[in-house]
């Protein structure tokens, strides 16, 4: 028993170290890219600027230093929680990120909810009515959702629901309520309305994914002996489908949902651009356009940390569930 938990600790320790290494490498790659996005100085000075202005600004920002030096400086500052100042907005990056995070997190949460709820319901339905017309219809139309690029779906939704029908807003968050440093759109009518189209656009892909996963897992489970046995015992279909079958499909589904959460936040870049949603994705796209290196660096680091942490948790969780993987991973 003692050696077991020691092994476990050893494994976790090793994985955490590796994750840190992963973060360092990701950061280095991201940083070496910034040289190629463009010259931030060009956007920061007007058309009347002189060559001296350019040189002065470049050295002031440390852009005359080599990439490794710039990266090292960024890291030492970042460890102390200082991500520098946005070139575009002239404000602390950490403050800007905190301001923008609620918009993205609320959008991601609602999209995830939409994807999970509808995905499970439709997945179960299409599995139970495997050969029915409705199930086949849902399966086919859901493919349309993943066969068109997200930005086009967003624009089509705007065209239909904002311009033609006039039901829902085409951009922004509507009115938001401030609760401490958090801003929420959940408490006003216009805020809720503004959430609908972006959430659907963002969640559609994940919804399809979860629906298909639930369906195939359900089909799998429904063929298992214990379900056949339950059926033979005369349990009702509903009890079988939901109490036994669905419960057993949940483990892989939850894993996928966990991993997809990160993807939702990353793909918010496109949805936020289309709907002018004032979140982190839009911030990042703006930063690329203006070569706002501090914002780009902080955003990429944040996304990396998020993915690495999720990966780490999933790995450790698996190790607890299946001890064989611990040896296999060595």
């Amino acid at each position: 028993m003692g050696t077991e938990s020691f092994k476990m600790l050893h494994f976790i320790f090793k994985r955490v170290l590796q994750s840190l290494l992963v973060l360092l490498v990701t950061g280095a790659i991201a940083f070496s890219m910034f040289t190629f996005v463009g010259d931030p100085v060009e956007n920061m000075l007007g058309q009347e600027r002189t060559m001296e202005d350019v040189e002065r600004l470049r050295s002031q920002l440390g852009l005359d230093k080599s990439v490794p030096v710039q990266y090292f400086r960024f890291l030492t500052e970042a460890v102390q929680g200082n991500f520098g100042v946005s070139y575009r907005q002239g404000r602390q990056v950490s403050v800007i990120l905190m301001e923008r995070a609620p918009a993205t997190l609320e959008l991601a949460a609602l999209s995830a909810l939409f994807a999970v709820a509808l995905g499970i319901v439709l997945g179960v339905f299409t599995a139970i009515r495997r050969d029915g017309f409705a199930a086949n219809f849902i399966m086919s139309t859901s493919l349309i959702g993943v066969s068109l690029p997200t930005f086009l779906i967003g624009i089509l939704l705007i065209y239909l629901f904002s311009v033609t029908l006039g039901w829902l807003p085409s951009f922004g968050r509507g009115d938001v309520v401030h609760i401490g440093s958090w801003t929420t759109g959940f408490l006003t009518e216009s805020g809720l309305k503004a959430l609908i189209l972006p959430s659907i656009t963002l969640g559609l892909y994940q919804m399809t994914l979860i629906m298909r996963l639930v369906r195939s897992e359900m089909l799998e489970v429904l063929r298992q002996d214990y379900i056949r046995f339950a059926r033979a015992r005369g349990l009702s279909d509903r009890v079988i489908n939901f109490r036994h079958a669905l419960k057993n499909t949940m483990v892989p589904v939850i894993t996928v949902i966990g991993l997809q959460l990160g993807a939702i936040i990353a793909f918010a870049i496109i949805t936020e651009t289309v709907f002018q949603w004032p979140g982190l994705g839009l911030l990042f796209i703006n930063a690329i356009q203006f070569v706002d290196i501090p914002i780009m660096a902080a955003y990429l680091m944040m996304i990396s940390v998020m993915f690495v942490v999720i990966n780490l948790f999933v790995d450790i969780l698996y190790a607890f569930i299946d001890p064989r993987l611990r040896t296999a991973a060595k």
Binding site: A30, F36, V37, L152, G262, I285, I288
Partner: protein
């Protein structure tokens, strides 16, 4: 349901079959012929692929030859003579006076080329690294899987944007205009190899402990030979399924990247670039510039996706 394919096979005459014959008699082909969805989507995909390959022979004009274009033909509606030039086009023209029908055929060529090449790149890289990691284990495995983590750390679109940015910086300035396509392939392929590597590694871990591999090792076969001859054939079907679905995803990814400003150049547009340009004309009434390319992309992605779906079900013994 479960036994049908085998039953059908055993009822066939036991004559020595040719390669083609063997393929036609296989379980897979039998299941294929029995599935209308598979037949229709395969035919759709084949038609689209064929027409894009034969684009130079089918297309009435060559939209990639700028000197042949007449700007005054711009924004001609489908099958309506242009107000200035009197020329008429089956699916109308776009903002540069290019025939939309020809542009779609040529654009699909680029989309498919990018899609196929990216997936091929991802498959080759994924299989290679997956085999290495699974077969040798140890630090090689750790290294490869951590590289995979770095890769997974960034969502695919971010990876593609990063690579695009870097490539743009390091390509000599005079080659930049031809660079976009290759960078797209690299970017989409690189963001995609991990799933292949993971599947292959997992399968290799299972296979390598089986008796036949141990036997091959005992008689002194080289690891490369064992991997290629014995392990690889056993993991091809999951790879095939993922590859098909990846192809559809790659074509869509190219369109998305185009929206973010890192797609194929507008002088040699892909389907994605056409849609990106066309979405600007959604409100102005020039619907055909968006509608036809979007429908083509939908048809292409849909047929490949459905084929992939069917393939997964057909190759998954557990679902039979």
């Amino acid at each position: 349901m479960t036994d049908q394919p085998n039953a059908a096979q055993s009822s066939l005459p036991p004559a020595a079959p040719s390669q083609l014959r063997r393929a036609m008699d296989s379980d897979l082909f039998y299941a294929f012929r029995r599935s209308p969805v598979a037949m229709v989507s395969a035919m759709g995909a084949a038609l689209l692929i064929l027409s894009s390959v034969l684009a130079p022979f089918i297309a009435p004009t060559n939209p990639f030859d700028p000197a042949s274009l007449n700007l005054m033909n711009g924004f001609t509606p489908p099958m309506t003579p242009n107000a200035f030039t009197g020329e008429s086009f089956l699916l109308g023209t776009d903002d540069q006076g290019r025939d939309v029908f020809s542009t779609i055929l040529y654009g699909m060529r680029i989309s498919l080329f990018v899609g196929f090449s990216a997936v091929l790149f991802a498959v080759v890289l994924g299989i290679f690294l997956g085999l290495l990691a699974g077969y040798f284990g140890g630090w090689i495995d750790s290294l490869i899987m951590r590289i995979a983590d770095v890769q997974l750390t960034f969502p695919s679109i971010l990876v593609a944007m990063l690579i695009f940015g870097v490539a743009k910086g390091i390509t000599p300035i005079e080659h930049r205009d031809q660079m976009a396509i290759w960078v797209l392939i690299l970017a989409i392929g690189l963001s995609d190899w991990v799933q292949f590597a993971r599947v292959v590694r997992g399968a290799t871990l299972v296979e390598k402990n089986k008796d036949y591999v141990s036997a091959a090792r005992l008689i002194g076969r080289r690891p490369s030979a064992i991997m290629m001859r014995h392990i690889l054939p056993n993991i091809l079907s999951p790879v095939l399924v993922i590859a098909t679905i990846s192809l559809a995803l790659a074509i869509i990814a190219e369109a998305t990247l185009s929206f973010l400003g890192v797609g194929a150049p507008p002088t040699q547009p892909s389907l994605g670039t056409l849609i990106r340009v066309g979405q600007g004309y959604l409100f102005s009434g020039e619907w055909w510039i968006l509608f036809f390319p979007a429908c083509t992309l939908l048809a292409l992605a849909l047929s490949v996706n459905m084929l992939g779906d069917w393939l997964r079900d057909a190759l998954n013994p557990r679902l039979k």
